[in-house]
């Protein structure tokens, strides 16, 4: 393709000005820069920040948000939104302890299937009934958390060593759940970049009626996207439960949908769909995690924490926003 560019564009096709490029770079990689800046601040001003265990803590804590955000990025790519992820995490937490008697793996499978079913319900409402994604998944947000609480009315501690190990053991010093999140990131990246499905997702988000006329299986793709989101959320719920060593359907995943959406958007994926940035989404989640950690470590009161978060979110998105050509 490179050759094509040259012989086609001619002298006029290659007018590259430096300044716009810098802007473009900031727009594309602003979130990386922000993460670096925050790291630098912490290295300078936060005691004990450079300990290996500190990085482990941050990575472990961000894992559920990263996993949920991956699914959210796909959904947002189709111009949708999935508010039900937090409740799906809760449902997964409930299912995993209910079926723990059969061993951790069957329990995990049941939990993930549960998540997929919820995703399918939301996806069906969106794709086949034509309900707007925000309300369809809002109904699930309310109902599924209730369902989780019906199944497991209160926090349940468990002693299953395998599940506990899943949450707390490490391989080569890297926690297992972090490795899982990394693997999922790679898979989603592959799906988005290299598969037909990934292309279809962004095409549908970019222009639904054009996609329909181009013969794309629009409804099926939409359904599948929500199923994947539910599936990933359920997995996140199981991992969070393993780490907590207790199933807490009441508060697990509360408001995580907002964190996930923030991570996706801070990473530069537009809410208007048609574009998905996987790695930047992970960076967005890391940014929000580091920010929260910084504010906690410096013991800011809640009021300040929230105001600072507001400002940083605005600044990060401002840097990565799409500029109008004028």
């Amino acid at each position: 393709m490179a050759e094509l560019t040259h012989d086609r564009g001619g002298p006029r096709g290659r007018v590259a000005v430096l300044k716009p490029q810098v802007f473009a770079w900031v727009q594309d990689y602003g979130v990386y820069a922000a993460v670096l800046a925050l790291l630098l601040f912490n290295v300078l001003f936060t005691p004990h920040f450079l300990d290996a265990s500190n990085f482990r803590t941050q990575l472990v804590q961000v894992t559920p948000i990263v996993i949920v955000s991956l699914g959210m990025a796909l959904v947002i790519g189709t111009q949708g939104i999935d508010l039900s992820v937090g409740s799906v995490m809760a449902l997964a937490a409930a299912l995993v302890v209910l079926y723990l008697g059969y061993g951790w793996l069957p329990a995990l499978v049941v939990a993930v299937i549960g998540g997929a079913v919820v995703g399918a319900a939301g996806g069906a409402l969106v794709a086949y009934v034509g309900v707007q994604p925000i309300v369809a998944t809002l109904a699930l947000l309310v109902g599924v958390r209730g369902l989780a609480n019906v199944l497991v009315p209160q926090l349940v501690e468990f002693r299953n060593p395998d599940l506990i190990a899943l949450g707390s053991s490490s391989v080569a010093g890297i926690p297992v759940i972090v490795l899982i999140a990394a693997a999922l990131t790679v898979i989603v990246l592959f799906v988005v970049r290299r598969t037909t499905f990934g292309r279809q997702v962004v095409a549908i988000g970019g222009n639904r009626s054009a996609s329909e006329l181009s013969g794309l299986p629009v409804r099926r793709v939409l359904l599948l996207v929500y199923v994947i989101s539910g599936l990933l959320a359920a997995l996140a719920g199981v991992l969070a439960t393993a780490r907590l060593q207790a199933s807490d359907p009441t508060s697990l995943g509360m408001f995580i949908e907002l964190s996930a959406i923030t991570a996706v958007v801070v990473g530069g994926t537009p809410l208007t769909g048609g574009r998905i940035r996987v790695l930047s989404t992970v960076m967005g989640a890391l940014l929000m995690q580091l920010l929260a950690a910084t504010l906690i470590k410096h013991n800011l009161p809640q009021s300040w924490t929230q105001m600072v978060q507001a400002v940083i979110i605005l600044a990060a998105v401002y840097a990565t926003r799409k500029r109008e050509t004028r």
Binding site: L100, Q154, A240, I296
Partner: protein, 331 residues
């Protein structure tokens, strides 16, 4: 392996014990003073408005206690609403209970202020209101009947005593705060801080962050905390869930039981077990079993007897000395 869930309280054990009426007799209230009319509790519609989801041991035990006692007394028409932690919803819930013709209201308020519209409506219909576990800021015996519950400020003070005790009067302490804006958070914090200032000026409170009364948040905040403040000596958690989250965090960081002294409030079974295991130092109880006392008070009132304007229950505390034996009584 069997998941171990905390079973609900055995019905007779751990019953609430009243602290005040025998001692300092405050102002009292009679049916006549209140201006109501007598009715039969058994056949009347009784409303109970719960504030939070029955999803933590305290709320579960509380709702269960009210329902069980009502059943025991033969009250057939008990209507229960749940505000799901939304204060506006609780106001509406109670108003709708009134609209359904309840004769007696038992309310577990989510917040102490902001009850004006409910109080007005109830007063117009002369419906007696008993508030449990949290106070309503209004006039007893006219706006509402009476309050039954613990003294949260006192709980904070007692937690401080335990902490001072554990640290020998000096050290660095972190507080895991409850949900911001919540009366319980405020009072448990103030009680703790006031007491520490008064009795152990050498203890510094170097860290206070909200864990929103949830185990996971407690764990996350503690992980950050012990990273950046490895020299912390004690953690005061404003409820058991956050304390248990802190325990998980400490375990994950390779700490041993007792390295960091944890004191918390509530008295759930898991927390008492935590004392037995050596992870928690002490737990101040906050007893949720309001059913018997609430209906007893109501019955007395209807019988024309004078009842106190507030019934403060005496909460016990758990420590290594009594934890093992008291496990059965914890909720």
């Amino acid at each position: 392996e069997e998941p171990q869930s905390a079973p609900a309280a055995a019905s007779s054990a751990g019953q609430q014990v009243v602290e005040t009426p025998s001692g300092t007799a405050g102002p009292t209230c009679t049916l006549e003073q209140f201006g109501g009319t007598k009715f039969d509790l058994k056949t009347a519609t009784v409303g109970f408005s719960q504030s939070e989801k029955e999803a933590n041991p305290f709320r579960i035990a509380e709702t269960k206690s009210i329902k069980d006692e009502a059943a025991k007394l033969g009250i057939t028409d008990l209507k229960v609403t749940n505000a799901q932690s939304q204060f506006s919803k609780q106001i509406t819930d109670v108003q709708q209970l009134i609209a359904q013709g309840v004769k007696l209201l038992v309310i577990a308020p989510l917040n102490s202020d902001g009850w004006e519209p409910v109080l007005q409506q109830a007063a117009a219909k002369k419906i007696p209101i008993i508030t449990v576990d949290r106070k309503i800021n209004a006039k007893a015996c006219s706006d509402y009947l009476t309050f039954i519950g613990s003294d949260f400020y006192e709980q904070g003070k007692r937690a401080a005593d335990r902490m001072i005790d554990a640290l020998g009067g000096k050290g660095k302490v972190a507080i895991l705060l409850g949900a911001p804006g919540n009366n319980v958070t405020t009072e448990r914090t103030n009680g703790f801080k006031d007491r520490v200032k008064e009795k152990a000026p050498e203890i510094t409170i170097s860290f206070e962050q909200t864990g929103e009364f949830a185990r996971e948040k407690g764990q996350q905040v503690t992980e950050q905390l012990i990273q950046s403040n490895p020299d912390i000596n004690g953690i005061y958690a404003e409820n058991d869930e956050m304390a248990l989250g802190a325990v998980t965090a400490l375990k994950g960081a390779g700490k041993e039981p007792g390295d960091i002294k944890i004191v918390s409030v509530d008295g759930t079974r898991s927390a008492v077990q935590g004392i037995v295991d050596g992870w928690l130092h002490a737990v101040i109880e906050s007893n949720p079993r309001f059913g018997p006392l609430a209906f007893e008070t109501a019955q007395k009132f209807l019988n024309g007897e004078a009842i106190p304007d507030k019934v403060i229950i005496s909460d016990r505390d758990y420590d290594t000395g009594n934890a093992k034996d008291s496990l059965g009584e914890a909720y």
